[in-house]
Symmetry: C2
Subunit: 382 residues, 2 copies
């Protein structure tokens, strides 16, 4: 049994860089590209950083104390004179000096170090998910930062809409400034707009027609008139690390009746789902409502020869320092907590009609949702 059951005296420990680990960014509030140690002893959070990061950490980070890695490497070499000295030995040396025997780590803490510490007789208690379940509940400051993220999303979507407005239709395809408007070009337009607002948009989705029916397909090739175009933009604000996440669906040209009905159904159900958000509501009741409403509107979810069609993903997910974090808004019956931040993003996907997804971000309020994203819902561009 490698896990100790003694959680009381265990010291929170992180070993990660701040790009890969939202926990490390959450606690230190400054960006470090290479993995480093941080831990909490008493009320203080300590970081152990090399000379490249040391001065910047003192100036910019939220850590209470910054320890020089080089000094602790030297101490560890003294403690473990035979054999290789790496991060396991450095952490074990810190454990000796700071008098702790057990660590609490996130589920994605590196196994190499966890097993190394256990071999040295230290206990490692692994949390389920993040080391900070409290990350689910956002402070006023964090709500503001997520709003900023959605401001970046909106800038991206606005740029996409403008590109579609500026396009002309020739033989059924869109042309912008004389060249075919492709998903790739539309993504570039979106990502440049996000950059100009101080954020990086990765994996931006600008997918049209049948492509958009695969919700993780980024889209490729020329965009055609009269097909639904899903634009899903989830940029990370470079300064804060917080994400925005919004989706709108557009169409250049003239929609068919089926397309109009599809979009207006998603629009209606999304609004209803948002309205249902408040403290104490079970997440799965919102998801179930979305499923039921789609069925009552005649939209079945099923597997056919082209794969799954209909409403084929969850209604939403938590948003913060990660683009997917707690809580989920899906089949689990977790209750929504005050100031949790979630996306509400129902969608319908039928290759013969096209795909539509509409996504906004809300904070869970005591009595009602607090909208953190804002963009109009007009979707037909003549």
């Amino acid at each position: 049994m490698p896990k100790s059951k003694n959680r009381k005296r265990s010291v929170p420990l992180v070993f990660a860089d701040t790009h890969k680990s939202a926990d490390q960014l959450y606690v230190g509030k400054f960006s470090v590209p290479d993995p480093f140690i941080s831990f909490k002893k008493g009320r203080k959070w300590y970081a152990v950083l090399n000379q490249l990061e040391y001065a910047r950490a003192l100036k910019e980070s939220a850590f209470d104390e910054v320890l020089p890695l080089e000094d602790w490497l030297k101490k560890a070499t003294g403690c473990f004179p035979s054999g290789k000295v790496g991060y396991v030995e450095i952490i074990a040396t810190l454990a000796q000096a700071f008098k702790f025997e057990a660590f609490k780590v996130a589920s994605d803490f590196p196994a190499g170090i966890a097993l190394g510490l256990i071999e040295k007789g230290l206990a490692v208690n692994v949390s389920e998910g993040s080391l900070f379940p409290e990350r689910e509940i956002k402070s006023e400051k964090e709500l503001q930062l997520i709003k900023e993220g959605n401001g970046c999303s909106a800038a991206g979507i606005r740029a996409a809409e403008q590109a579609l407005k500026d396009s002309v239709i020739k033989k059924g395809k869109l042309y912008l400034e004389g060249k075919a408007l492709t998903s790739e070009r539309l993504r570039e337009v979106i990502e440049i707009a996000c950059l100009r607002k101080g954020s990086l948009s990765m994996d931006t989705i600008a997918a049209a027609g049948a492509q958009a029916c695969d919700p993780h397909c980024a889209g490729h090739g020329p965009i055609r008139a009269n097909e639904l175009i899903i634009v899903d933009v989830f940029p990370r604000v470079s300064k804060s690390g917080y994400f925005g996440d919004m989706t709108r669906t557009f169409l250049k040209g003239t929609p068919s009746d089926d397309q109009s009905r599809l979009v207006s159904s998603v629009n209606k159900v999304q609004k209803e789902a948002i309205k249902a958000v408040k403290v104490g509501v079970k997440a799965n009741s919102i998801h179930q409502h979305v499923m039921n409403r789609f069925i009552s509107l005649g939209y079945e979810t099923r597997r056919d020869k082209s794969g799954a069609v209909g409403f084929i993903h969850g209604t939403g997910h938590g948003l913060g320092l990660e683009v997917h974090e707690a809580p989920r808004v899906s089949i689990a019956d977790n209750r929504l907590k005050e100031n949790a931040v979630i996306t509400i993003e129902p969608g319908l996907y039928y290759p013969e009609i096209g795909g539509c997804r509409i996504e906004d971000v809300v904070a869970v309020g005591k009595e009602k949702p607090i909208k953190l994203s804002s963009y109009h819902y007009n979707w037909v561009i003549a």
Copy 2:
């Protein structure tokens, strides 16, 4: 002892998304934003993916077989009827079905899953670093992809140089199109240029004056005439996931003698270090050469009141699907292997003069280095 010593029959196992795990991208060669299981049995690599990724994985990925997550979740629920069923139980169920008892994982494999598997009686052997030490040796295709990455770096550096050329000096500060040219604006110019070449540049450095003497400081505020500006651009090509990494140092205005000597010294030593790269050479001999040469040129490395000054970082690092990967070109005595790809980036940092770093990327050839980056070294912009 949680680690089994029986490495022979252990099955390589990855659980990660492809943004955070270069190993997962290396094996599957397609992008998935959420963590998933992949493993090798016999000669086949398997991925276990949910319905959102399943069809795309069949079409786009390099996996030999794609298993539907939903099916294996159902099977796991059958195998473990009491208690929660998560990825540990799914992997244990796969282990039973595919008849394996031991796994080999990367050092950054999630501890939560590793310890869970050990509790279920499975053995977990943790590799040192990547699950694929062979990632250090690049194929011809990979060399090409890294060259593409450096093409993106060069586009970013070119855009920065153009912005500096287009700037005018007023009262000692730079102005571009009537507005102060700040580090932030210069970064934006660089990152847009990278985007247009199909890459995302994170943590771009455009730091001037004393700021540039902290090698991980991204730079902020107005850029002044006559100060050294370090531009370090390491974008990731969106399509392939491979990085470029180049640095040039510029100055707008008229350099001092000290600045000129500093830059020409770094330039000279960087060229010498590149020339020393070939198969079998010890990495630390190159690093030592750089240190010795700087000392012989009168540039001491020391700690003073403002922190460390001189040559305060390693000479280089491996580059590929991660911006820092094996091998290191620093104090360790690892020998350079054929077709390893490394950066050579000596630098000198003295706040009263400024900072200079010059970085190129080379592949290790049998007899000589093969340069994978290309950009001129003119640094004074009148």
